[in-house]
């Protein structure tokens, strides 16, 4: 299977032009490429709301998992405000707006999980407003210390898989799950290679470019995404670049609602070389390849607990987020941290308290900025970032 978009992208030999093409693909609120994938493959489409979703299970069950990360600044919110309070973040409202404006007609189902109160309620709101849609909610374990948390999550995944099999009509074997794990291992490994390249050469592979390459995987099939990442890696390795008078930073706080691509560019142009970030974390959730020869469902459940990134939406009493951030800064050689949190994001704002204390204690400069996905103008953030850069470079 090859979508027209992917066939065109594979002909592009310039990374900047390639990213422009990808942007059209993932910023499209009409999901035209998703419609094409559905027509070409006949697979039901399942929307995965951030942050983490076990995409391997959807793939194994014969569905196409699409990362549903709001609508960015592409649509006006004209209906969703009537369902949510004014102090709820933008990604909740824009995702609902997509549904209320009939833009999710190609989606058979949507999956949510326990990120925060509005996200939890969004699942109920979808169920109430779209009774014909397959809406699921994954209850991830909150206590990750005990071995029984893996048993619990395996059972939860099997419940999800049963529901998925009802939807797709496919009987899923253990081999199916392991095959899907292998495919997503490959995609994740390629993204990891690109992340490592960006960390070492942020003036060659910009965050705008890397973000676009990862975000495209929210729309494309995993098979096409792997081809895209391999193609991009070839282009990146021959791309010229000049080192800039920028400061090197780690960016945290943008794990759920995403800033617009132009805001990412504005921050880079204001003087940041971003060495690592938590954008689109769900598709980069596991820290290493997962085994493909065991009980696939249990492998995924176990990896959620023991082989995954720390995040504001996952409470793990064995780990300290502040210490891990400080270690990440030191190991990457970053100068500072940007805590970039969406407006009204409770998990992000709660974690800022942890990060702030750890960074102050470690003597690592940081800047806190707030954004909304619907932003069109970035002068405030740009001024804040420029001032922060000046305060470090002019010292």
């Amino acid at each position: 299977m090859a979508t027209a978009a992917m066939s065109e992208i594979e002909q592009v030999q310039d990374l900047t032009a390639l990213v422009d093409g990808l942007r059209v693909l993932f910023e499209d609120p009409e999901f035209k490429v998703v419609s094409e994938i559905k027509r070409l493959t006949g697979k039901p489409i399942i929307g995965n709301f951030p942050v983490y979703s076990p995409v391997e299970l959807f793939h194994a069950a014969g569905a196409h998992p699409v990362g549903l990360v709001g609508a960015g600044n592409q649509i006006e919110i004209a209906h969703a405000d009537s369902r949510f309070q004014s102090f709820v973040c933008s990604v909740i409202k824009s995702t609902l707006e997509l549904g209320l404006t009939d833009r999710l007609q190609d989606f058979e189902g949507i999956v949510f999980h326990s990120i925060c109160d509005p996200a939890r309620n969004l699942a109920s709101v979808f169920k109430r407003n779209f009774p014909d849609k397959w809406v699921e909610y994954i209850h991830f374990p909150q206590n990750l210390v005990t071995e029984s948390s893996v048993d619990y999550l395996e059972n939860e995944y099997r419940r999800l898989l049963d529901r998925l099999q009802e939807l797709t009509g496919k009987t899923v074997t253990n081999a199916d799950v392991n095959n899907s794990i292998a495919l997503y291992n490959t995609a994740r490994s390629l993204m990891g290679t690109l992340y490592a390249f960006r960390r070492d050469h942020p003036h060659i592979l910009t965050t705008r470019e890397l973000y676009s390459l990862v975000r495209a995987g929210h729309i494309l099939t995993v098979e096409e995404h792997i081809r895209l990442l391999e193609h991009a890696l070839r282009l990146v390795r021959t791309k010229p670049g000049h080192e800039r008078d920028h400061i090197r930073v780690i960016l945290v706080g943008s794990f759920c609602e995403q800033p617009s691509l132009d805001l990412i560019s504005a921050m880079e142009e204001a003087g940041l070389d971003i060495l690592d970030d938590d954008f689109l974390l769900g598709r980069r959730w596991f820290t290493e390849d997962l085994p493909t020869d065991g009980n696939g469902v249990r492998t995924l459940a176990s990896a959620y607990r023991d082989r995954s990134v720390i995040s504001s939406v996952k409470h793990d009493s064995r780990r300290h987020k502040g210490d891990e951030l400080v270690a990440q800064v030191k190991s990457s050689g970053a100068d500072a941290v940007i805590v970039s949190v969406p407006k009204f994001c409770e998990p992000g704002l709660f974690d800022y308290a942890i990060y702030r204390r750890a960074l102050l204690d470690a003597g690592i400069p940081h800047l806190f900025v707030e954004y909304e996905e619907k932003m069109w103008l970035f002068d405030k953030v740009q001024t804040e970032v420029e001032t922060f850069v000046e305060s470090l470079l002019l010292d």
């Binding site: 420029e386 002019l394 010292d395």
Partner: protein, 263 residues
């Protein structure tokens, strides 16, 4: 003599300052920004050159600052207004550690060290509450000029409490107070107190460390200075050139950079 210029393009007014080789201010000009930001920047700069009695070609380096800093198209460089206000105030009073800058459409609190380096800062959100615009709208509703409202606010005996800090809805609030027979002075007392409370809440996010200075266009409003002192319970330093601190800082950056280039 060589000169160095700073052009601070604010949302309401554009300021230009020239300093000489010693860093002394030799010209300062204020013009309305209007709709053509580039022209306002050029006009302010050329008037400053004329005021200094020098020629355009004697100005070695120009730094643009303010929200329209990238519209100083004839300049050599841009520096943010936060860095420039810090630089400017440290030049005129090295004891200042906290700068509150209230402009036409924004407010900022900046923590600095003795050399004018920025240690921390915070900007207001996209909202005119706590900015000069709030005061401007209030003056308009009361049919007063901006220069009048500060001194008259000091005559308030029982300042009113406003139920909103929204720049749009404050008009309704003021009209309601007028209908209830409240004096203009008491209403202005309430208006200034509301803006001060908003700005002080912002400033507390970086921490208040003495000395505290007020810069930006609103520093010309004596009622605002007193209201801030009341809410902060510390005296506030206001330079006679407080309105020009951003442009002065930019000119000082221009001087440093020109000298660095010259070696």
């Amino acid at each position: 003599m060589r000169y160095f210029a700073g052009v601070d393009v604010g949302s309401t007014q554009t300021k230009a300052v020239l300093v000489d080789e010693a860093g002394d201010m030799v010209a300062k000009v204020l013009v309305d920004t209007g709709s053509n930001v580039v022209k306002a920047a050029e006009r302010a700069f050329l008037e400053a050159v004329a005021q200094a009695g020098t020629r355009r070609e004697d100005v070695d380096y120009i730094v643009g600052t303010g929200y329209g800093r990238f519209n100083v198209t004839f300049g050599n460089d841009q520096v943010t207004e936060i860095s420039c206000h810090a630089k400017g105030i440290a030049h005129v009073n090295p004891n200042v550690r906290t700068v509150i800058d209230i402009g036409g459409q924004d407010a900022k609190a900046i923590k600095i060290d003795a050399t004018g380096d920025v240690k921390d800062f915070v900007m207001n959100d996209k909202c005119a509450a706590g900015t000069g615009r709030f005061l401007g709208n209030s003056a308009e509703v009361l049919n007063l000029s901006l220069d009048e409202i500060g001194p008259r606010s000091l005559e308030a005996k029982v300042p009113v409490r406003l139920s909103t800090v929204c720049t749009v809805f404050v008009e309704t609030d003021i009209l309601s107070h007028l209908a209830l027979g409240r004096s203009v002075e008491n209403i202005l007392g309430g208006v200034h107190s509301a803006v001060a409370a908003r700005v002080v809440a912002l400033a507390r996010r970086v921490g208040i460390e003495r000395d505290v200075a007020l810069t930006g266009g609103v520093s010309r409003n004596v009622g605002m200075v007193r209201a801030l002192e009341h809410h902060l319970d510390v005296p506030i330093y206001v330079s006679p050139d407080a309105h020009f601190m951003g442009a002065l800082g930019a000119a000082l950056f221009a001087r440093e950079r020109a000298m660095a280039v010259a070696g």
